[in-house]
Subunit: 132 residues, 2 copies
């Protein structure tokens, strides 16, 4: 299972996390072989934090865990698409449902555009992480 | 617009391409600043090919172009989610609708699993690329 995944020179594979019910892409992160193994064995999303350089068990601070419903591997074996049920409805550390909350307007036909915030904060990040 | 995007040390940003109608994640690729600018100005997906080290105007060989319907930027500004209308219904170079055609079975609760092919080839790649 792990053998067929092409990890990059840092030993990581990119993971696209998608809401299993709505199809919304929630977030994008990375997994090491150890993170992938733990994800598969526990059925909970475990990533590798590049900033902290350690396993990141999604939701261990915020409670917003992700129950994995499927794992898919792409044609080159170097990208994983993971479908999850998002506990608490919040995947982003900003307290939004997902991380892709800036939308380019206008999208096309112009030489440029502006990123506009198109998604509201649902939970206060300070409450999510027990700060403040 | 470009200024708010955090390109990596290779000058690239990862792009998740999603079917605007079905929500299916079609593929994962990279854009340079130039590729992103051309995507925005033309309304057609233009990536940067890491293997060929040049702009990759999706569909220029296969005819399977992608009309962009939205571009979204994530919380860290370093991942783009792009929604498209996929011309020809085939996004993957293997002739499948999308690239994530291997699914792990069983997905969870076991220490391992097998990647099973769960998506059929729709078009012959040799026909798509004018070979054979």
């Amino acid at each position: 299972m792990i053998d067929e995944v092409q990890f990059n020179s840092d030993g990581l594979v990119p993971v696209i996390t998608q809401d299993a019910s709505t199809g919304q892409v929630l977030m994008f992160a990375w997994m090491s072989a150890e993170a992938l193994s733990e994800t598969v064995s526990t059925g909970r999303a475990v990533y590798f934090s590049r900033s902290r350089q350690k396993l990141w068990r999604k939701g261990e601070s915020s409670g917003n865990t992700q129950a994995v419903t499927s794992l898919q591997l792409d044609c080159d074996g170097d990208v994983i698409l993971m479908k999850v049920e998002q506990h608490g409805g919040v995947a982003c550390h900003t307290g939004r449902a997902h991380c892709f909350y800036r939308t380019l307007e206008p999208v096309a036909g112009e030489s440029s555009g502006k990123w506009m915030i198109t998604e509201s904060v649902i939970k206060n990040p300070d409450d999510m992480y027990g700060r403040g």
